[in-house]
């Protein structure tokens, strides 16, 4: 009896002990260390040396609060680095002029090369080389002139600077969340700069539409995009008009302008009659606001397009210009709302108001933001909650992001390291992890007008012929994410696992190798040389880059390949292997 009682007590004791130890063992959530790593991988482009410790010290909540208010963060080093990029502050007017000059030179070169037939086939150009005015070629005087001459005119240089600036900001800026959001919203309101002259107009779009609005009200961001010459051109809204005949004066002036700008006989490219073009109206609904399942009909697309007739940009100065004579003044019905006749430019504004406050928009935007910050396939409850915040705050994007990072799903094990880095995120996080620096003077030159086919510009990146030595920009392109060069209007998918494919993976491995071998054009990195035996060195390097220990199997492979028979560790090789590891592909 006593024995049984004793056993019973013991059993009870064991049971209690094991329950409590299970409670201690059960990983309910992330550790403080993991939270710091997670927040630097999600709200930033990965940790730089010292970042994890700094965030742990100040506490993730304080870090998040700070990042949500970028204006309070000193970013002078980045500003200084960007100050040499003068093309970023050029006016659209100047950049458009530069674009026309590029086209003129290109056409002239084609004519000289005897490609008149092909030019006729592609562009309907009737000019022969004798009738074209020869573009003035001024002898370059200063080094800067030589640089410009070598790379093409300002419009091409500007887009190269924009791509480089994006990399510099992502790598260097202290306002990391701001840069992550700029990347997100640029992608949401995608514009492909290959569709000339979108490259000339995108500079203003980045500067005036995206960057100032990422933590403001969605309606303001949407409005800025709807007025953006780059966007209106990219989605053909410059062609969207009420059905009308162009007057003879209009046609003559247009032909004269084209002839003057391109130095060629008028090709008769301006047609008699013009009318509606649905492209912008459709994508505004499908991609920018409601989403493809947002409940609009083909009729809604047409009615929205009618509301935006006349929303154009001026080829003279590249700024937004509402053309009342091309606007459809009739009554329209959009998503059940009647838009009275005679509204002029207000029709479009009314549509934007309707769309910005539509529940489907709240859901669509929230879903995409949850994909970027939480998981490829975010839980419905989370999305619904965030959509609710969106609606309640009237589209306050700062509050929406705040709601996402405050959610239990954000700091969860399910979310931790669950996303695959995009090529941009991989390249930039590699640079940040290895304390990468841009070599001074930072070259603004990253493209030249390689060809112009059917109104598209082929930008050639540094030295395309050199397969092994590439710039960061070109490496990212090769991994599948040409910056500002995504062809479909939908932009790059937020489903991160789509980035994984054999060729893309090989490109990432090659980038990791090139980076640690100082073989990436324009940047240099540091490879620390920790002391200790092979195991200790590998662990320290892994900790510095991954912020977690490597598995024994991984340790084995690394040592087999980076430790010599004399036990010396090739730190650069170890670093390359860690950067190329499956673990580092995740964030």
């Amino acid at each position: 009896m006593r024995v049984i009682k004793a056993c019973g007590l013991m059993a009870l004791g064991l049971l209690l002990a094991s329950r409590s130890s299970r409670a201690d063992d059960a990983p309910a959530s992330l550790t403080e260390h993991q939270k710091a790593v997670h927040v630097l991988n999600r709200l930033a482009f990965g940790p730089k040396p010292g970042d994890v410790e700094r965030v742990e010290k100040m506490g993730v909540d304080a870090y998040i609060r700070q990042q949500l208010h970028p204006e309070t963060i000193d970013d002078s080093a980045t500003t200084e680095a960007l100050s040499q990029f003068d093309a970023l502050s050029m006016s659209s007017s100047h950049l458009l002029d530069s674009f026309f000059a590029d086209v003129k030179s290109y056409l002239h070169a084609q004519m000289m090369a005897g490609n008149a037939d092909e030019m006729k086939l592609r562009y309907g150009i009737n000019a022969d080389k004798d009738s074209m005015s020869v573009p003035k070629v001024e002898k370059p005087k200063t080094t800067r002139d030589k640089l410009i001459e070598a790379t093409g005119h300002d419009a091409i240089r500007a887009i190269g600077e924009l791509q480089q600036a994006k990399l510099i900001r992502a790598t260097m800026s202290e306002r990391q969340l701001n840069e992550v959001l700029v990347d997100f919203w640029s992608n949401h309101f995608n514009i492909d700069v290959k569709k000339a002259p979108a490259h000339a107009l995108k500079i203003a779009d980045d500067r005036d539409v995206i960057r100032p609005h990422v933590l403001g009200k969605f309606r303001d961001l949407l409005g800025a995009s709807a007025h953006s010459p780059a966007m209106l051109f990219y989605l053909d809204n410059n062609e969207n008009s009420v059905a009308r005949d162009r007057s003879r004066i209009e046609k003559t002036l247009a032909n004269l302008y084209v002839s003057y700008k391109l130095g060629m006989k008028s090709a008769g490219l301006i047609s008699e009659r013009e009318g509606p073009n649905e492209n912008y109206g459709r994508e505004l609904l499908e991609l920018h606001t409601l989403g493809v399942d947002g409940g609009y009909t083909q009729k809604d697309v047409q009615e929205v397009a009618r509301c935006f007739t006349g929303w154009n940009y001026s080829p003279f100065n590249g700024n937004f210009h509402f053309e009342a004579n091309r606007h459809d003044e009739g009554v329209k019905v959009v998503l059940g709302h009647t838009i009275a006749a005679g509204g002029g430019e207000k029709d479009g504004e009314q549509v934007l108001d309707i769309l910005a406050s539509h529940p489907a928009t709240a859901h669509h935007i929230s879903y995409e933001l949850c994909q970027r910050f939480v998981a490829d396939d975010p839980p419905a409850e989370l999305v619904d909650h965030v959509a609710h915040v969106f609606t309640e705050t009237d589209g306050d994007l700062r509050k929406v992001v705040e709601a996402i990072v405050a959610s239990p799903e954000f700091f969860s094990l399910a979310s931790y390291r669950s996303k695959i880095k995009s090529p941009l995120e991989f390249a930039v996080s590699s640079l940040r992890a290895t304390d990468g620096q841009f070599i001074q003077p930072i070259s603004p030159v990253f493209g030249k007008l390689a060809s112009m086919k059917e109104g598209s510009v082929a930008l050639s990146y540094d030295d395309d012929a050199n397969a092994t030595r590439k710039s960061v920009n070109r490496s990212i392109r090769d991994m599948g994410e040409p910056l500002f060069g995504c062809s479909p209007p939908s932009g790059y998918s937020e489903v991160s696992k789509k980035w994984v494919s054999p060729a893309a993976l090989i490109d990432r491995l090659n980038f990791a190798l090139a980076l640690t071998q100082q073989n990436v054009i324009g940047v240099k990195t540091q490879t620390p040389k920790p002391a200790g035996d092979a195991d200790a060195v590998v662990n320290q390097l892994a900790d510095a880059i991954l912020h977690e220990p490597v598995s024994p199997a991984t340790m084995n492979v690394i040592e087999q390949n980076a430790v010599g028979s004399d036990k010396t560790v090739d730190a650069a090789k170890v670093t390359a292997m860690i950067l190329g590891s499956p673990e580092f592909q995740r964030r």
Partner: protein, 428 residues
């Protein structure tokens, strides 16, 4: 297949890393073994090349219905003229009713020789006009069905798996990412350029670093990256056999400059190198001609010029291999029958597909022409679909790729594929 082949080829078998570095860099012990092992059962060297024209290519401009009077009414500024011995810029007559766009004249000899066929009024039953959705629906072969995750070509590969081919190059896409049509459980590789597909490390350490990375990815079991890693390294090793840097096309063959020409050339290269290719995907975009489409000349004409020269060069380069190869062009939808206000066309419905190959029943425009009279147009604006694209795909799967008809249900969900509806594009 003898035991030594199986030993090297089964997944999860011997890692390349432990064989030795030499195998990775040049034809070596393992490469030779792999070489021998990818022979498919004799007689089955069939290759299908899927050429997706992304952006909704205008079928009415590619194969012009010059015999249909409504065509000229709908497109007064951008129509291609009737075939004419005197005026230039007219369609190249094919059969008295249809004509080829003059910019596509490189294809005329192939039509005449019976290797090239077209399927007009072909498309999707879905009425969506969203590029994004319709490309997805076509690549999944599941119109209006968003629950299908994988692609029809991947499912076709799975159905063909019994033939013993385990080459990492069964399915290749000449793009930077694997297209939707090839996504799924069967491995497929996206290669941007054959000549740079491999680990490149300075100081002669490429093979060492390659084996190092290979080891890391081999260990990452359970991670989506593990499978990708393995495919990458298997493919690199096998590709050395093709020796891509030394490829020269057949005599006097000139592919058009640019990515498209290069893609086709590399597919031809892979076919000739006998690496076990079954399905290749090539893409060409720029078909979304909302503005200034042009007629005989213009933006679309330029695109068609390149497309046709590329296809002709590909056929010429392959020579006798073409007996086993079939190229099928496709596009997510066509363009409206009427031109819009910008001498262009908006999104439409049916378009025209092209089939090229030694076993194609060519010299003919297949399909059933619904006509362009206003009351015959789909939703009163577009060319109506009279051939469901899945019937064309099903014909390719069975008559070209050798699937049994009872396997079609696995490739085409919720679709009752039937030989009765085959248009007769492939010679039996």
């Amino acid at each position: 297949m003898n035991i030594s082949r199986r030993f090297f080829l089964t997944r999860g078998g011997v890692s390349l890393a432990t064989i030795g570095a030499g195998a990775l860099v040049g034809p070596g012990f393992l490469a030779r073994a792999a070489l021998a092992a990818v022979d498919r059962p004799a007689g089955d060297k069939r290759v299908f090349v899927c050429l997706f024209q992304r952006g909704a290519a205008d079928g009415l401009s590619m194969v012009v219905p010059h015999g249909d009077p409504f065509y000229y009414q709908h497109r007064n500024e951008i129509a291609i003229g009737r075939p004419s011995k005197t005026a230039s810029g007219g369609a190249i007559d094919l059969d008295g009713f249809f004509g080829l766009h003059p910019a596509m004249k490189a294809l005329t000899p192939l039509y005449k020789s019976g290797e090239l066929a077209m399927i007009h009024a072909c498309g999707s039953p879905s009425s969506s006009r969203s590029h994004f959705d319709m490309q997805d629906f076509m690549e999944a072969a599941a119109p209006d069905n968003k629950s299908v995750q994988d692609g029809w070509l991947n499912r076709t590969l799975r159905q063909r798996r019994g033939d013993g081919n385990t080459s990492p190059f069964r399915a290749v896409s000449m793009t930077s990412t694997v297209p939707r049509s090839l996504q799924g459980d069967e491995p497929a590789i996206a290669i941007r350029d054959l000549s740079t597909f491999g680990i490149q490390s300075a100081g002669g350490s490429s093979s060492a670093m390659a084996s190092g990375f290979e080891g890391l990815y081999a260990n990452a079991a359970g991670d989506v990256l593990h499978g990708t890693g393995k495919e990458s390294f298997d493919a690199i090793a096998l590709l050395k056999k093709a020796d891509p840097t030394k490829y020269v096309p057949a005599k006097s063959v000139k592919y058009p400059d640019g990515a498209f020409g290069r893609s086709l050339m590399q597919v031809a290269q892979l076919i000739k190198a006998d690496v076990g290719l079954e399905i290749a995907c090539v893409e060409v975009d720029g078909w979304d001609t909302h503005v200034n489409q042009g007629g005989a000349n213009g933006t679309l004409a330029g695109r068609l010029f390149d497309l046709s020269r590329g296809l002709a060069a590909f056929r010429q380069d392959l020579g006798d291999h073409m007996d086993e190869v079939m190229v099928l062009t496709m596009t997510e939808f066509g363009r409206a029958a009427r031109q819009n206000g910008d001498r262009g066309t908006d999104h439409g419905h049916a378009s025209c597909f092209f089939a090229l190959g030694g076993r194609v029943n060519g010299g003919k425009v297949h399909g059933s022409w619904p006509g362009l009279a206003p009351h015959k147009l789909f939703e009163e604006r577009d060319l109506a679909v009279t051939t469901d694209f899945r019937d064309v795909f099903a014909e390719v799967c069975t008559l070209h790729m050798g699937l049994q008809t009872n396997q079609l249900a696995s490739v085409f969900p919720r679709f009752d594929a039937s030989v009765e509806r085959f248009r007769g594009i492939v010679r039996v």
